[in-house]
Symmetry: C2
Subunit: 196 residues, 2 copies
């Protein structure tokens, strides 16, 4: 630990979510061992992303152009708009590869405690998009947390009557075991039960 370049790298790595001082040290030693195959490509990729990454001006997705590929594609203009909290949620939806419309990234949830109001999120822009992009259905894909559901209710109020509104179904996850589920999920799954 004699060296300031190494110390700097370890200190910066330790700030990443999911890493702490110990795992940052491990990661840095690993990177040095795999210098040609991992460290140099990683440094280059970071420089590249630092130079090119930007937020889509329309939906808030992260990409390398002012308008992201999804907003740019005419095929995705099917009248469906999926509202998510952040970009990670958008990516999760895209991995499922089943939603064919466009997205709107809020950038967080309303939170009285943290002083986050509607003007801090992109809710006014969402209301604009619903009219300007001829949206027929808004799907609220917010997290099933208190803040997420508060935000969903607020948005539903704002858009009431203008557009069809829906939210993701709640119930037993695929592969889930009842024994490991919380009471809230079981209650939701039971009250939304379907005839077989």
């Amino acid at each position: 630990m004699s060296n300031s370049d190494l110390d700097t790298l370890i200190e910066l790595m330790a700030r990443l979510p999911g890493l702490g001082p110990r795992s940052a040290r491990r990661a840095v030693l690993y990177l040095i061992r795999k210098r040609a195959r991992l460290l140099t490509p990683l440094a280059d990729a970071m420089q590249q992303v630092a130079a090119t990454a930007r937020e889509c001006l329309n939906c808030g997705n992260v990409g390398t152009s002012d308008i992201c590929d999804i907003c740019d594609s005419e095929k995705r203009a099917n009248g469906e708009l999926c509202v998510v909290e952040d970009v990670a949620d958008l990516w999760a939806m895209e991995r499922a590869n089943v939603f064919k419309g466009r997205y709107h990234v809020l950038g967080g949830t309303l939170s009285a405690l943290d002083g986050v109001g509607p003007e801090d999120l992109s809710i006014p822009r969402l209301v604009d998009r619903v009219t300007s992009e001829n949206i027929t259905e808004v799907i609220l894909a917010l997290n099933a947390t208190v803040d997420g559901q508060t935000t969903a209710h607020y948005i539903a109020d704002q858009l009431d009557g203008q557009v069809k509104l829906s939210s993701l179904a709640q119930g037993v996850p695929i592969g889930g075991e009842l024994d490991y589920l919380d009471e809230g999920t079981i209650t939701a799954a039971l009250s939304a039960r379907k005839p077989v």
Copy 2:
């Protein structure tokens, strides 16, 4: 996930120990949000380390010169040589800030299963150093695993009679609770018990 630069970065980050695909995506989004304060400095630090990091030719520590600061310091030439498995162990010893001698990094342990023999580790070089550096005591600070202890026994055989040999004490860790310790540690602590 529309973009190949981003995909490349996520794929590379996911190869780090302690990160998987999910935490790599989280880390990359976090890096993009903290572009100026974290992403760019991190890319620079990686480039810097990729350009300058090297193994000490004498002991195997990682630094930025051919001979590391510890081997370079006359103060550390007190006749004590601490043998560790890898650089992470050397750093752990240095954090404790109590050992004032020099180190020798083996680069692993003997392992019949993985086909690692004495010539694959820096054991011949260790034997050389003991004479050339006027070492009076070799402290075996190897991990308390089967392979670590096998390696310690082998080194002890090689150096038998040439130098004083010692190994780290085994016992109850500071702050440790007996109830959570394994039987092996309790056995070791009991047999090495000290009068109060």
